[in-house]
């Protein structure tokens, strides 16, 4: 069949079974949008910013496991995707981003809306292409989808000059790819597997460290089977949340700078740490010298470069988590380790006492500000099966610590890059991907403002997203650091004078917007809540909504902090649980 370049782009989407794309038009991609005009089988979600299009496509991919697709124009359209691409690249999200480019004869001439998209996006993508010949278009798109979705997934950019979009060619979309420099690991090395099995079976205090690779690699089922069989406790990274349900007694929670008491202690005490699909990132290990000092480390990852990068690894296994775990399952012993389980139970019990200290279990009738724990747990009770997206900072850590996750792919958060402004557009992508589930976007008043224009998209698409703003009037995580390490000098972290504003039920004019009015301006619902009972009323209202987003602006204790915290330079077992006040 003869396809114009733009028609081949759409043909590629159909052949790759893409039914939803996130897109923003512009001069260089008009030919693609013209073909999309008649493509009734492809749902085009028009965001209000290209960055949001990438984040939404990213969350679409994270919730479904399918490859997310976005289409943007040349120049600023492409440069606006950079943050989104870097976010997806860090968290191994399969994404294909098609960008327009100026016609070939104008490339390099500083043409209107020209940018070296391939040059700019090279370090933040798994791979990228500029199509320089019409006959390479189909092949390139096929390769892009293959590379994005296989091995360690990641974003791939395909930059297409406008004149190629108009050029017709007799062409069939290729089925196979031939990339001699690209293979994706599958089974583990037999010798290493054998060593790993012996090490696990012999260990007295073994511990699994579950990372995002388990969720990305759809291996949570076999992983849970292994945990059930062996009774070995589990800690997770932020991205590994959902690999095992939060409520499982063997799940000690997240480790790291804001890891749980039990998880951080377990890493410091275990004699064997088996990391699966993790990077041993610096926010996880903290002081490397003090990380898992007693443990032999086994590391399973699909990416060889992730292994032995930060921590010395005794038994490296390169492979696909699902395949390798299935190989391991029959070989791992069921074994009683009563002393280890007793210690872990004690840590979990102690943690409950520590948590009570910081108001996690604040009084129900407390008339002062809401506490973050109250908000998260109350929202969780109303929407127990929701997909949760977060922004970055305190809101993210509180969600990771307090929400009860049941399944993989239900916490959608920017882990590696830590992108503020990710959560709300991500909620749009998740809501479009999972029409049958509620999506809760947990946000801070700072990060929500980084992509609040997407309220228009959410309203237009009739998505009943519940946006919960933990409004403390601060850029809370940086403020917490300033409180702890900079003598309370809140430099550029104070967003508004909410304390005064609250009493008058108004927001100071030089501060943040009135989020309730903002919701109203966009045609969304909105309410402001100060207490648990008000929050419950708002959630009742939210639960009844079916086709409109709602902002629940929660006025929380302005100086609430995330605890525990491991200070930079400290070991995981050196947690602090409160601001140390000087004696008066």
């Amino acid at each position: 069949m003869v396809f114009k370049g733009a028609e081949m782009v759409i043909e590629s989407l159909r052949k790759e079974k893409v039914d939803t794309i996130f897109a923003y038009p512009g001069g260089a991609v008009i030919p693609i949008f013209d073909v999309l005009f008649d493509a009734d089988d492809i749902n085009v979600v028009l965001t209000r910013h290209e960055q949001a299009a990438v984040h939404a496509a990213d969350a679409y991919a994270r919730t479904t496991g399918k490859t997310g697709v976005c289409i943007v124009t040349s120049g600023p359209g492409a440069t606006n995707t950079v943050t989104g691409l870097a976010t997806a690249n860090f968290d191994s999200v399969p994404l294909v981003c098609i960008s327009g480019q100026v016609p070939r004869n104008m490339i390099g001439n500083d043409a209107f809306q020209e940018a070296d998209t391939v040059g700019i996006t090279r370090p933040v993508t798994k791979h990228n292409y500029i199509v320089t010949k019409r006959e390479n278009l189909g092949k390139t798109l096929r390769e892009a989808f293959h590379i994005a979705s296989t091995g360690r997934p990641g974003p791939v950019v395909v930059d297409i000059p406008k004149d190629i979009l108009y050029q017709p060619l007799e062409e069939t979309y290729p089925e196979d790819v031939n990339l001699q420099g690209y293979t994706s690991p599958g089974k583990g090395h037999a010798g290493q597997l054998k060593r790993a099995v012996t090490a696990v079976n012999d260990a007295k205090k073994p511990l699994f460290f579950a990372g995002g690779g388990i969720n990305v690699g759809d291996s949570s089922k076999i992983f849970r089977n292994i945990i059930e069989k062996t009774g070995i406790p589990v800690v997770t990274s932020l991205m590994g949340i959902g690999a095992l349900e939060t409520k499982n007694p063997l799940n000690l929670g997240m480790i790291g700078m804001h890891g749980t008491y039990a998880a951080n202690l377990a890493v410091s005490e275990c004699d064997l740490l088996f990391g699966i699909g993790v990077r041993f990132d610096d926010r996880v290990t903290m002081n490397l010298e003090k990380f898992a000092p007693l443990a032999k480390i086994i590391h399973l990852d699909i990416d060889p470069s992730a292994i032995a990068r930060n921590v010395p690894v005794e038994i490296p296994i390169v492979g696909d988590a699902k395949i390798v775990l299935e190989e391991l399952y029959p070989l791992l012993d069921k074994k009683d380790r009563p002393a280890w389980h007793k210690t872990i139970k004690e840590w979990k019990d102690e943690a409950i006492c520590i948590n009570a200290y910081e108001g996690f279990n604040a009084k129900e009738d407390d008339s002062s500000y809401l506490m973050p724990y109250q908000v998260i747990s109350t929202v969780n009770r109303t929407f127990p099966d929701a997909i949760v997206t977060t922004e970055v900072g305190q809101n993210q850590m509180w969600t990771a610590l307090f929400w009860n996750f049941k399944e993989p792919r239900t916490l959608i958060t920017s882990g590696g890059l830590g992108t503020m402004g990710y959560g709300f557009p991500a909620a749009i992508g998740a809501a479009i991907a999972c029409k049958d589930r509620r999506v809760v976007a947990i946000a801070g008043d700072g990060s929500f403002q980084m992509n609040l224009q997407e309220l228009a998209t959410a309203v237009k698409c009739r998505l009943p997203i519940v946006i919960v703003i933990l409004n403390n009037g601060y850029l809370g995580m940086v403020r917490q650091w300033q409180q702890m390490f900079n003598g309370g000098r809140y430099s550029s972290t104070h967003l508004n004078d909410r304390i005064k504003a609250d009493k008058e039920d108004k927001v100071s004019p030089d501060g943040s917007p009135d989020f309730v009015k903002l919701a109203d301006a966009y045609g969304a619902e909105g309410c402001r809540v100060r207490s648990k009972s008000e929050l419950e009323d708002a959630l009742k209202k939210a639960a009844a909504l079916t086709d409109v987003p709602i902002i629940i602006d929660c006025l929380i204790e302005p100086e609430a902090n995330v605890w525990p915290m491991v200070s930079p330079g400290a070991g995981l077992d050196e947690m602090v649980f409160c601001i140390e006040k000087e004696e008066e």
Partner: protein, 165 residues
Amino acid sequence: MNHVISLLVENNAGVLARISGLLSGRGYNVESFSSGPTLDPDITRITLVCRGDDTIIDQIKKQLNRLIEVIKVSDLTNKHTIDRQFALLKLLVQPGNRGEIIQLAEVFAAKVMDVGSDTMILELTGSEKKIEDLVQLLDGNIVEIARSGLVSIERGRKHAAVSQK
């Protein structure tokens, strides 16, 4: 310690930028970088000389391997190899010392490529040490140097054919 890493890469536009971008973006130290065609016109060989401890060199190799267009990564360090560099040296000469310079050049098996009224260009191929030595000897006369990066090939029957990957 310096490591010699030999790459076979797809001969695509932008592949050099991809490799040099990776090296600079991750803060790796590269002493020299040279690239040229192979028997297969679709494949380019790049020879890198990198500096770093074993962990860093291991990371460099792994990161290079992640690149889609990199077909093969071989570490030629401590292998039985032939290593060569190439240099062009422009010298200022006077009739009085021209003979002496030509004699020196002969000792080093350097070729005289150009002789002007008061200049001379020498071509020299050899190990890095050999080039450094001649440069040092002629230090007072040299006005310009053009040097290539190192290229290296393993002795014996073993060859880094793509099909071996």
